[in-house]
Symmetry: C2
Subunit: 369 residues, 2 copies
């Protein structure tokens, strides 16, 4: 079965090497990692572990950076449900980029996107999730002095005029080919990609200054930027660069991506410690053997074990991760023990996140463009 | 040859009776004229002369009016060039409606429309014409206390969110069928009709009150409202009513409509008296005979004579118009004399308009929503 990866659907077992070819992105290689290390002072575990695995024109952004021409970061969140820990992956990395390159971040909340694409999502619901989701983004610890929130409907006076300039250069043929749109697609969804293009050059409009843009995002969003990378240079700005990550697998197994609407696949940022424990114990797909005896004898398979896969995202210590891998493979570490390690890790992470999320309620204004 | 009538093109000799059937609008009949006379105190010459000739649900709006539930008016102007006197026709009638029914007017300037639909119109040009065109609208004499300008890109914070609710309910199939859009149409143009729908219910959003809407417009804009009349009731508002007018014929003959981009067909609101005189003498299509002798003997044809046709729009006095018709038909009135009458009429009209247009420069702020 071939996997489906679009901005609105991820299905099947994603083969990321195939995606590199299909999407036409470039794999992040050792030379690029060395260059990042030189400039950032370190290499984020997501880079070392191939979680951020591909890019477009990252070298050009670094060329400019070396010349003293700083890039700005652009990423986003389309509100449609509660934030789960899979959403946090690109944001964690974006924060690292902001801190280590000392650059500005424009964080888009396209609060119309899911309203347009999901038949049953009401306007009121998407607006409610917008408010909720902003708290999670603030809880990531972005520097309020260097971070600006852009909300499509609240910043429409700034964004809609720029989106029109993009839209004039994209035909229905293009969105049909790139996004699989049909005659039955609504005209708001057809227009939408123009709004997603805007933050990649809006800072240049606002500051009347040519600056490169780097977009960290999960690979499924690449089609949007494939289209906008063609258009934006025609408007007189740099072609935006991008860097792509893999999906945190759903609890239920390493296929598709975690979904807010399927509760058993996801851990939400607001889940309490007991809920996390129960969800992982009940749903986390295991690479272990059916009996303790067999597991001790033959060992488990960390490559399909969700608990191990998640630790690759949440345990920064390379040595610990390596030991877990070996112990699980040899049978020394049991599935229940591995789940216990993950539960502890996630609950520690969420306790911190929830503390900052609570404080975030009073900070929203500081982040608004 | 069949005429083409779309919001972006009018070609050929328009048969308005055919349009009534094709578009599915209703002819304004004597019963409706009597009802308007009762409520408005008079009947505008455009109604008596069949220039405003058709409507959708005007009776429903008048029913509500009689119950004390006032409608609001909505009309507009998409900036793409200088205003010519053909543009003024629906605005003259709109002013009469405002004055005689004592109602509010929302005047839309969709400053993105022509930018999206005209390949060669730049953003800067359309913004420049926006400023120019607003002066002409103000010069019509609308009551600033009861008139609000809505500029799509400047009021996007209000309009874009509402347009999205419309857009979610319109498919590409619909805009393909109604507007003849194709795979090569840009995605901004595809989305645009949603923005044109918004002023028909935005006042209800702003005032949190259910009010009927009446849209006076030239018949070529009807496709937009045909689509939005289907959607708007689903959002909880009245289905907007509309009233349609014929086109002021181009100077060069009673086919198509006057065009800002073909100078010989149009008289601009900023043309001076000499230019008007020259244009009419040189270009106004005549229903007269080749020689004075033949004209005196056989008479002229006022039905194809542009000067006579224009007097139907600009000479309010029914008796005068009737006498001109008879005298021209009998041969008593010569083509040169008829042109002279039109020149005097138009120059008198424009002298007033230009005086008010000059004063309008300081009034723009008063009209802005």
């Amino acid at each position: 079965m071939t996997a489906t990866v679009t901005p609105w659907e991820v299905k099947g077992v994603v083969d990321y090497d195939t995606l590199i070819t299909e999407f036409g992105v470039s794999k992040i290689d050792q030379t690029l990692l060395n260059r990042i290390k030189k400039l950032a002072g370190e290499v984020h575990p997501f880079l070392r572990r191939g979680i951020f695995f591909a890019h477009r024109d990252l070298n050009l952004v670094l060329d400019e950076y070396e010349k003293g021409n700083k890039f700005f970061l652009y990423t986003g969140r389309a509100p449609s449900g509660p934030v789960h820990i899979g959403h946090l992956v690109p944001w964690m990395f974006t924060k690292w980029l902001q801190d280590n390159f000392d650059v500005e971040l424009y964080f888009q909340f396209p609060d119309e996107e899911k309203f347009l694409f999901k038949e049953n999502l009401s306007w009121e619901e998407s607006q409610m999730y917008l408010q909720e989701n902003m708290l999670d983004v603030i809880a990531m610890g972005f520097d309020p002095k260097k971070t600006k929130f852009l909300i499509d409907t609240q910043h429409a006076n700034l964004m809609y005029p720029e989106a029109l300039k993009v839209a004039k250069r994209i035909t229905f043929s293009t969105v049909k080919a790139v996004f699989g749109m049909t005659n039955e697609t609504n005209i708001g969804s057809i227009f939408y990609t123009s709004m997603q293009a805007v933050p990649a050059f809006l800072p240049c409009v606002l500051k009347k200054k040519k600056m490169p843009c780097l977009i960290p995002h999960a690979i499924d969003q690449d089609p949007h930027f494939r289209v906008s990378r063609d258009v934006i240079p025609k408007l007189g700005y740099y072609k935006p660069a991008s860097i792509q990550c893999k999906f945190l697998p759903p609890l239920t197994g390493v296929t598709g991506k975690m979904s807010s609407s399927e509760e058993s696949t996801a851990i939400y940022t607001t889940d309490d410690a007991k809920t996390v424990k129960n969800k992982i114990n009940k749903h986390a797909f295991s690479g272990g053997k059916p009996t303790v005896e067999e597991h001790r004898k033959k060992g488990g398979n960390p490559d399909i074990d969700v608990s191990y896969q998640w630790l690759l995202f949440f345990e920064e210590d390379d040595k610990k991760v390596k030991k877990i891998y070996e112990d699980y493979k040899s049978g020394k570490l049991l599935s229940g023990e591995l789940k216990g390690m993950l539960i502890e890790k996630i609950n520690g992470f969420l306790a911190e996140h929830q503390k900052r999320r609570k404080l975030a309620e009073k900070q929203v204004g500081k982040f608004m463009l």
